[in-house]
Symmetry: C2
Subunit: 540 residues, 2 copies
């Protein structure tokens, strides 16, 4: 009976609503005044309880978190997670009330973002970008006084590679052909093996390229992608967003984050027994968050393993310029596979590169590329199609990607200053890595492998049981608890190891080596002081 | 018996392969010579037929088109499809052998890419971008002679909004806060209603923003997104990539591509009967490919419909500056819904904007934003999380998005030249639209609605049965056949209507209004000549 009444009321309200809300049914006039009348009524209807609202019985339920794509809900990205939100809050506090915390500034060691911590851009690169953004100044006399001769020449060269010199036009969906030629030449010079500009896909940083490959390869949760643990959380996030399964292989901390083929074999076997089709192997070299640089011998074994098991090799090589120890060198997986005799068609291999890392650190420019080899023309066509849906990557990022693969040469006007800037940054990063590594290794219960490359240290911390219990009582991962305490006490932002994955029962954090060099001693001493107190508080 | 022999052969080869390919099993030496030996053998094995290959029995099958993500295979994007590949081929022909075709150049009318057809960028915007790219010239004396005073001032303002003035750093994942403040102020000035910088998400053009919303809303093929037919194929592509269902609503060509609420109701009912949960309604205003501008009255009906049916309103408003007829004005859906009395929490609404369109046409810069209102804080957090996985959009695009929402003001040094450039472009676009529209309407069997806005005409063509049969015999859609013939005869590239969707049995094509104005008469006459011959060939 109550149901019937409710139904009648609803029908009445609905009919009224329809006639009032659709003035065309009321009168032939479409004056705006009838709409203002309507709008007041609309307000009335929207304030009715939902049971009596004007919505039809089967209207779509409202958008709630629970009704979102579960793949999105599953996705996590620790590098910009909870700890960073807390850091932003503290920063606002400090701005509003200087002195409100026991530190003067927030030190963002959570993310490889060099210029945010004061690293200056490479002058030559910025000169060329500015000239390409505003080419009408290229032939003005004042420009000679402001820009180097070779940056002007390079800008002309680049403009001539762009159809109609239109730096504001969408480009070919793989990127401007002339820039891809330059990049291919740079790869050839680096590797000593041919590179084809048609294999290059320019992208807005490396992240969209990684997403594109995941989108292509993952059909369902039965498809697996092999990832190192610890891994850069872009991979776990992208695999989650595309509905696949992350198949882990553990790097061996005891051997400097070594990548053991026996571990790959074991994990592959386990995954296959679970019915997972493992489609690709992600290798990050130099490592993120681990900072290790693979030996060429190890890389050969990996190539062989991928070949044998039919895996696409996804080589994250964005830290290729970031090597800090004389005994290690970067070798691209393409060079390694070619030197083993594998040709263009023998092994599906994707190499990711970015302008965000290296000595350039141009994160905000969102430039990057992937070099895609070893796929059939039909598969390549599908990759091109996906790239074309987003039209193209940003042209400044494209230009910058060509510049980092073809910087000034000996004899160019900019060469000396360019080299001084580059060398200064890399030498300083090496010193910072060492100082932080030493500082961390001096902390009670902390062991830190060498940062051979990349921009990170990933120390292990043996937390006292009491600290672990305290974290658990606060429903926090123990490493997240440590990181939060560290932030609150010192302003230093690091990412808990749980965001990257770690051997169960071990705890780590990732810390960049990017703070300005003169700040490192103070950072180490603040950290040491905090750590001693923390351990005193919780020591078992 | 043959099977057994094959198995024995495989086992033998595998064992040999494993021992040869893993030199550590051969000897304790890891000299590179053993690797070169291996590499020659590797070449041998890869040339074996697959049956006898070294792959283990359960190795992952090779990557073929059939084994890719079926959502990727399903996705289509006609704007850069087959016809454009043909155009690129013809262009290469013309470069290699001038005179090899009955035209001198390819006219890309397939894509809204103004600067590729000669439109010049707005000087003020490019000045600011160049200065932000290379800020060290800001206080040099020569800079005063090269750049306007207000571009220098604006660059300083923008740099001061960027933490550490670091234009090369990753920004907040929604974009630099100060730039979002500027954009919010621009939206307020446009609409007369408040805008919150925290509602702005800066993106690399509008496309990634559209993908982000699809990713959030689509759970399975049972989730539907309402799209106009004809539609901009980004929507069909994105829905396919995310595995949802496109629920069509047909625009009424007879009433100038009118959007009828009765059609929405009918199609919604049909979709719901099929078990589809329709989650969102896409409206493109001004229309792409149709060029119509919605009347405010119509927009109110749409808002009411979304409110009543619980749909997210996805408002593609990237052509908001492209209006060519005095009787029409752009009204944002946010303004319309606020003027109806709906507040911030009453209706989930996303407005997409891009630097690629308007009078600026900066497609290559990949700047844009979405303004997201009416979602719960929990849902907003999920949107932020997805944005954060890609770190941030490119900073030049972010700066440009702030500039198009806050161009020079009356009294600024650049104002007059800025206004002359802007007005010149928009006036010329209006004239070009009219001339092309008239030209198309003069063709036998072609009717073309007015381009009230956007950058396109979407004429209907009544093809003779003989032409349709000819197309069918070539396994081509009749409109694709016409477009191919047109391209081969004239060099004009248009996109067949089948790429956008159309009422079954009708045929259309999309043609941009972007060729340079002085070329339009020649285009019309070439097209007319071709069309007459085509009709003569096929007339029933």
């Amino acid at each position: 009976m109550r149901k019937l009444e409710a139904h009648r009321a609803k029908t009445l309200i609905r009919n009224t609503a329809v006639s009032l809300l659709n003035p065309r049914r009321q009168s032939s006039s479409s004056s705006s005044s009838s709409y203002y009348y309507t709008s007041r009524l609309a307000r009335f209807f929207t304030s009715l309880p939902s049971d009596a609202s004007m919505a039809s019985d089967n209207s779509t339920p409202p958008i709630t978190v629970e009704s979102l794509n579960p793949k999105v809900l599953k996705c996590e990205y620790a590098v910009r997670g909870e700890i960073v939100s807390l850091a932003q809050k503290l920063q606002q506090d400090l701005q509003a009330n200087p002195g409100s915390h026991p530190f003067e500034e927030i030190l963002y060691c959570n993310i490889g973002n060099p210029q945010s911590l004061g690293q200056q851009p490479i002058t030559f690169f910025r000169e060329v970008l500015a000239l390409c953004d505003h080419p009408t100044i290229l032939d003005k006399s004042e420009t000679q006084g402001l820009f180097s001769a070779d940056s002007i020449e390079r800008a002309w060269q680049i403009l001539d590679q762009i159809p109609g010199r239109a730096t504001g036009a969408y480009s070919h969906s793989q990127g401007i052909k002339g820039l891809r030629d330059t990049i291919a030449a740079g790869i050839e010079a680096r590797d000593g093996f041919p590179a084809d500009p048609n294999d290059i896909f320019l992208t807005d940083g490396a992240s969209p390229a990684v997403h594109m490959m995941m989108q292509l390869l993952i059909r369902s949760e039965n498809d697996g992608i092999f990832c190192p643990i610890p891994q850069y959380p872009l991979y776990s996030a992208s695999i989650a967003l595309h509905g696949g399964t992350l198949v882990p292989y553990y790097l061996d901390e005891a051997t400097g984050w070594g990548l053991e083929i026996s571990e790959l074999k074991k994990q592959l076997e386990t995954a296959r027994q679970k019915g997972i089709t493992v489609r690709a192997l992600v290798v990050i070299n130099p490592g993120n968050p681990t900072g290790q640089v693979l030996a060429e011998e190890n890389q050969r074994d990996i190539v062989e393993f991928c070949k044998k098991e039919g895996l696409v090799l996804l080589a994250d090589e964005v830290y290729q310029e970031n090597i800090y120890v004389p005994e290690k060198q970067f070798h691209s997986f393409k060079k390694v596979s070619r030197s083993m005799g594998y040709g263009d068609k023998d092994i599906p291999l994707v190499s990711f590169q970015s302008v965000s890392k290296g000595y350039y650190g141009e994160c905000g420019k969102r430039g990057g590329y992937m070099e895609v080899t070893g796929f059939s023309p039909e598969v390549r066509e599908q990759i091109y199609k996906v790239a074309s849906v987003n039209l193209c990557s940003n042209i400044s990022g494209q230009i910058l990607a060509s510049l980092v693969m073809s910087p000034p040469n000996v004899g160019d006007e900019s060469y000396e200053s360019y080299f001084a800037e580059k060398d200064g940054i890399l030498q300083s990063l090496a010193r910072r890595a060492k100082k932080l590594e030493d500082g961390l290794n001096n902390l009670e219960g902390v062991t830190c492998n060498k940062a051979e490359g990349a921009m990170y240290l990933f120390p292990r911390i043996r937390l006292p049981n009491k600290a672990i219990k305290e974290a658990e009582s606060l429903k926090k991962a123990p490493d997240a608890y440590y990181a939060t305490r560290l932030l609150n006490a010192t302003g230093i932002v690091v990412v808990p190891g749980s965001g990257f994955g770690q051997v169960p029962g071990t705890w780590h954090f990732r810390c960049t080596i990017l703070p300005q060099e003169e700040k490192i001693p103070a950072i180490v001493s603040r950290w040491t002081e905090f750590h001693q107190k923390f351990m005193d508080e919780f020591r078992d």
